[in-house]
Amino acid sequence: MQQFLLKHFEAIRTTIAILIGMLICILLIILVSSSPGDSISTFLFGPFSSQRTIASIFEIATPIIFTGVALSIAFQAEQFYIGAEGAFYITAAVGTAFAVSTSMPWFFHIPLILIVSGTFGGLWGLVPGYLKARFNTSEVVTALMLNFVALYAGLFLINNFFRDRAAGFMVSFRLPESAELPRLIDRTRIHWGVVLALLVALWAYYFLYHTRTGYEIRTVGHNQKFARFGGINVFKVIIIVHILTGAIAGMGGVVEIMGIHRRFNWQDLPGQGWDGVIVAIIGRNHPLYVVAAAVFLGYLRVGGQQLRLMSDVPFELVLVIQSAIILLITARAFLSQWESRMVIRQAGEEADA
């Protein structure tokens, strides 16, 4: 029993954290809802209530997998480049611009858009990356600032050159059909982007753990001096990491446009970059766990949506609830005393024996 508990401690800890988070939510719901029972079951089980809601979970998870995986590469190299938000936004704008101004058969168009936007995203990431690698400029700060630059530059681009003037709002022209990622299931918006996201996550896993550059990245992250000592080109690694992060997060942005919106319609930073930070940390920067974390976040969001639609719980409380659960899950020391006490007891028993 003890063996089992210890072996699966991480999973158990996460589960208990989620349960406690849920418990807090339930308490909050009981406080504000006139029919708490219904509200709670709406929140917990609503996401599984129909094909559409289940699909919603994956629709939401798709862009977050991109940003989460992108950030986990940066975080593995100890680069706190939290600029996925900006890369996501501006690359979506640039990718849209490219998509609406070109036309060709879809089997050329889609890959080409992904390549162009990936390249652009990479260049976007290169800016903080170069500054960090060359001058040791804090990437946290430059990334935060570049997020705002991305917003206004993206608006400028779409507003002045690609705005659909027939629409009453700040949106781009519609993508040509050849640039749309097809939907997978009727009456849902789940689209081929989810497959791309999974491929990217699998690739990132393989890349980080089974290739030379991946090894270099992780080594730089663990101990930069050691990496330098061993002959690893730290400058190059930092540059690569930022480029990859920008490229993958950026591709996520354009995939979201190609799969869901089919035209650029964001007038504000859409938030998936911050969601990426959340899932990267919950998934401990491991691309495959990041996928799981993104799906979980999707589940929470859909639960919140159901609560909004089906109950009298105010929408802002849903935000509060989600933050609370996220905080608890990332609380690493939560239950760790219990674990160490168990380890110590076991070691003591073995020594006595």
């Binding site: 129909s50 559409r52 809601t53 507003n159 629409a167 009453g168 709002f169 009456r187 859409p270 909004r308």
Partner: protein, 329 residues
């Protein structure tokens, strides 16, 4: 509303792609629904979608399956989603306001669209601003300059701006017009700072179409003793009790009467006279837009100016003046 009414009463849902409390659009639409639920035998419900745009489509998709007789959704952002759903749910009547579905793109015989000519309303307040700045009223200064403050540089907001500028020039060809954008709708401090800068550059009438950021601009006008013009709702009335010094400067507001138009639409729906399958443009004549003629307006604006405004309104009605628009330009 909201009780489990008898099954034969009409069930109406209002979906907001935002929340109540914005003191303009969404509050106004909600007010319309409340009036409807009091006046008629209907079951109503309001759902707040919040500001996360990625949630709106799934929300609507789910709500559309809820067996409502009427689903009301506003703003351009929802129109495209409504287009998809209207085809899937032909039994449901959809009402979109402040935008129109593209009737040429399919069979939308179950969609009624309401458009407001915000440019016309803005033309009128622009004309008022043009006259005020040239006047020798208390708050008017010598610069012959007025200011426009927008939330963001986007078409809807620019539609206000275009009308405002045209109206001002109509009555005062030499007027200098300053225009600036806050960059968002939630930074009143920056809104105020922009207004202060315009006032410092000589502006003595400030028209703010910038949501919460615009409130900051109104405050600047109040503090600096110049005129301000509110937007969407009657902001003088909203501020009169809580912020009298700001309210005193709000000479009028450019109203978008979403509430009236919602009531108007439901009324006709119940009569069976609603022109479903069409878009209606509600301008000044239809009372879709207008200016607030409250006590402050009466107190400040001289009768001669009011007469001039009425004359301009008639000219727009008569088609003698065509107001430019930024939509679709």
């Amino acid at each position: 509303g909201g009780q489990e009414a008898a099954s034969d009463s009409t069930r109406i849902l209002l979906y907001l792609n935002g929340t109540r409390g914005d003191q303009s659009f969404f509050d106004s639409a909600s007010r319309g629904i409340e009036i409807v639920s009091q006046q008629f035998d209907v079951e109503t419900r309001i759902v707040e979608g919040g500001y996360d745009s990625s949630a709106w489509q799934p929300d609507l998709a789910q709500l559309a399956g809820g067996g409502w007789d009427i689903i009301i959704a506003g703003t351009w952002q929802l129109a495209e989603y409504v287009q998809d759903l209207a085809v899937q749910y032909p039994e449901t009547t959809f009402i979109v306001y402040d935008t129109s579905v593209d009737y040429s793109a399919g069979d939308f015989s179950n969609v009624y669209s309401i458009l407001y000519s915000q440019n016309e309303g803005s033309f009128i307040v622009g004309a008022l601003a043009g006259m005020l700045t040239a006047s020798d009223l208390d708050r008017a200064r010598s610069g012959n300059t007025i200011g426009f403050i927008g939330g963001m540089d986007i078409p809807v907001i620019n539609d206000f701006r275009v009308g405002f500028e045209q109206g001002a020039r109509q009555v005062n060809p030499n007027v200098r017009i300053l225009a600036a954008y806050v960059g968002n709708f939630n930074d009143p401090a920056r809104g105020k700072e922009l207004a202060l800068a315009q006032i410092e550059q000589g502006a003595d009438v400030i028209f703010a179409a910038a949501g919460e950021s615009g409130l900051g601009a109104l405050e600047a006008a109040g503090e600096q003793n110049v005129f301000s013009i509110g937007v969407d709702s009657d902001q003088y009335m909203l501020l009169r009790d809580s912020q009298p010094n700001i309210a005193a400067a709000v000479v009028t507001s450019m109203l978008k009467n979403v509430d009236n138009s919602v009531v108007y639409a439901i009324e006709r729906y119940l009569d069976g006279t609603l022109a479903i399958g069409q878009a209606e443009l509600l301008g000044i004549r239809e009372d879709g837009v207008g200016i607030a003629r409250n006590e402050n307006f009466e107190r400040i604006v001289p009768q001669a100016m009011i007469d001039e405004l009425d004359r301009l309104i008639e000219m727009i009605d008569a088609g003698e003046i065509v107001v430019d628009t930024a939509i679709g330009q």
